[in-house]
Amino acid sequence: MSVEAREKRQPWILLSPALGAVTMLLLVPLIFIVVYSFWLRSATGPDVVGFHLDNWESTLTDPFYRFILFNTLKIAAITTVICALLGYPAAYFITRSSGNKMLLLLLLMLPFWISYIIRTMSWINILGSSGAVNTFLMSIGLISSPIQMLYNEVTVILGLVHFLLPFMVLNIYVSLDGIDTNLEDAATSLGATRWQSFLQVTLPLSLPGLAAGGLLCFVLGAGTYITPLVLGGPQDAMFANLVFEAIITQLNWPLGSALSMALLLVLGSLVAIYNRFLGMSQLTKGLG
């Protein structure tokens, strides 16, 4: 075998285990649940193989699913906006700060390393009836018995913001960091105020980072079921909770397949639109 041929084959040998794994453990299973969503659940015994539109019919026409889907998208959107409002100034500060580089890096990365479930449950210690806020309010005599602050839509959004904010900060940081500070200085020297130069130079240039952060927050937020389970009441279910319930509690796998495909289609089309206009590289930049 010639050196050249070997050179050509080598990367494929190196790639094949990873590609094989992704194919067998993700791509084929995804196709499989498309097929599965056309099967039927039987009350006893195994699911009925075949081509039935029942699951899709209820997924698409049942107002209950639309109600929950709308609620899910609403919660994800609010979360994303709050993350952007909180995250942008913080990322801007980190980029432009002249302080200790190590500390700033830590501020960027540390939140990622703190476990999701811990961050979520930590709010129970803060807002619960014997949590920090209630204890404080009671000790200064403002209230006489604990007020109920947990287990509603607000705490679900709070928990999601707390979970997703680091993604936003990191992505905005990456794009702000790539902007030449001289541009802003040039604008200022041409007579613009700092605020004007920020609005007209820096902000537009950092939009790709904001978009990448926004997409991540939205998609991750809309796909969660743990946060509503821990911090929400029964009314605060999101779409992924329905998937979890269909698959794990009700063992209705055909319906669960249809519901998860629906979720994938909705969120996937967002990713696709994003990809069409901005490309994937901005997203992976933040993760790398």
């Binding site: 006893t44 604990p146 029964p234 009314q235 794990i248 009700q250």
Partner: protein
């Protein structure tokens, strides 16, 4: 060693007083060591000799009573470890069992005859050899007959205890007179908005909705009215609780003043000194629990454990620990001083005073009602 012999030896030590309750307490630590050795995935070892039996129950004080008075002494004598797991609802547990491999789950503390019927419908039952469980003769016939009506030719479970889901209330805020006057409707009384609780179980919710709308729980005519009652309760409730431990902590910490509750857990709260009242309204939700052996389990080892657990000494100790009356017939066995004082206790041995869920009625409507409830729960 022959199973029967092993059992007899244990019984002897037990009767001689070699194994008293304090000793059981000491065994708690030993059991920790014993099952620490087993790794989470050592299930394959089951194939040859039975080394462990998995038991799933309701957690909290109930699990503690089982472990202390039944499992530890059993392990001490037979060398068979009892690994115990907990679940917070029967539906969720059944789903887990159905999606598991055979033999993964062995014995379950199931609630009600309807639950027994569901497991039988999914062909998850086994055929127990009652000759290996001589203590079955001490059990109330009324309890056993209920299971026999589902499986006339065999039994896959032994009755173990019974109780009710009645009204639990904080006596500092709600008087005994008020609860008797309002009955189940107190759970939809706007006066207690934000201080009401309830179990997130569709059966219990619907049962109480029937009582609130003056219908028979085993024959609800006006379903819409019942669902509306559930909606009112949902909007007034602080939250649904998901486990007995949560029920107890909500009441103990005065986060809620009134909820329906499991008789044994409320008795446990009273024992701890909390001023919580318990009242069974007319047609209160009664249930009889069984120890169900699931298909694929080492049946002989399970029979041995079940017989051991039905032994009056064990049964009474467990009952006093978990605060639910045992399945043993009070007319055949001396149940001691405490058990007759437990809520829901029936001295007649017939249990005619309690209303149970009709298995056919509830299982027949399960698919539709559980689905509707999951929507109502979401504010739909």
């Amino acid at each position: 060693m022959d199973n029967t012999k092993r059992y007899e030896r244990l019984l002897e030590r037990y009767r001689n007083g070699d194994l008293d309750r304090r000793r059981f307490l000491g065994l708690l630590g030993a059991a920790g060591l014993a099952y620490g050795v087993q790794t989470p995935f050592a299930r394959m070892a089951l194939a040859q000799e039975v080394q462990q039996v998995r038991f799933d129950g309701w957690g909290g004080v109930v699990s503690e009573a089982f472990r202390r008075y039944a499992f530890d002494p059993y392990t001490e004598e037979t060398g068979i470890t009892v690994v115990d797991g907990t679940f917070s609802g029967g539906d969720e547990y059944l789903a887990q069992v159905r999606s598991s491999q055979e033999g993964e789950y062995n014995i379950a503390h199931l609630s009600g005859v309807f639950d027994y019927a569901r497991y039988v419908n999914f062909e998850l039952d086994v055929e127990l050899n009652i000759d290996n469980i001589p203590n079955m003769s001490l059990v109330m016939d009324a309890l056993t007959n209920a299971f026999r009506s589902i499986t006339p030719d065999h039994l896959s479970a032994v009755p173990y205890n019974y109780g009710t889901t009645g009204l639990a209330y904080n006596r500092a805020h709600i008087s005994d007179e008020e609860i008797r006057e309002k009955g189940a409707s107190i759970l939809i009384d706007p006066a207690y908005e934000g201080k009401i609780g309830g179990w997130s179980d569709w059966r219990t919710r619907l049962w109480y909705a029937a009582l609130q709308t003056d219908q028979s729980p085993n024959d609800i005519q006006d379903m819409d009215a019942a669902w509306d009652a559930i909606r009112s309760h949902r909007d007034l409730a602080l939250k649904y609780w998901g486990s007995g431990a949560e029920l107890m902590s909500l009441l103990a910490e005065e986060e809620i003043y009134v909820t329906e509750g499991w008789s044994g857990r409320i008795a446990a709260l009273q024992e701890q000194g909390h001023d919580i009242g318990y009242y069974d309204p007319p047609n209160s939700f009664g249930w009889q629990e069984c120890l169900f052996v699931i298909k694929g389990s080492p049946v002989e080892a399970c029979e041995e454990l079940l017989n051991f657990m039905l032994e009056p000494e064990t049964s009474i100790a467990v009952a006093e620990g978990q605060n639910y009356p045992p399945a043993l017939d009070g007319t055949k066995v001396d149940l001691g001083d405490k058990i007759p004082t437990l809520p829901a206790y029936d001295p007649s041995g017939t249990l005619e005073a309690l209303t149970f869920a009709d298995p056919e009625y509830w299982n027949g409507n399960e698919a539709e009602w559980s689905e509707t409830f999951s929507r109502v729960q979401r504010g739909f």
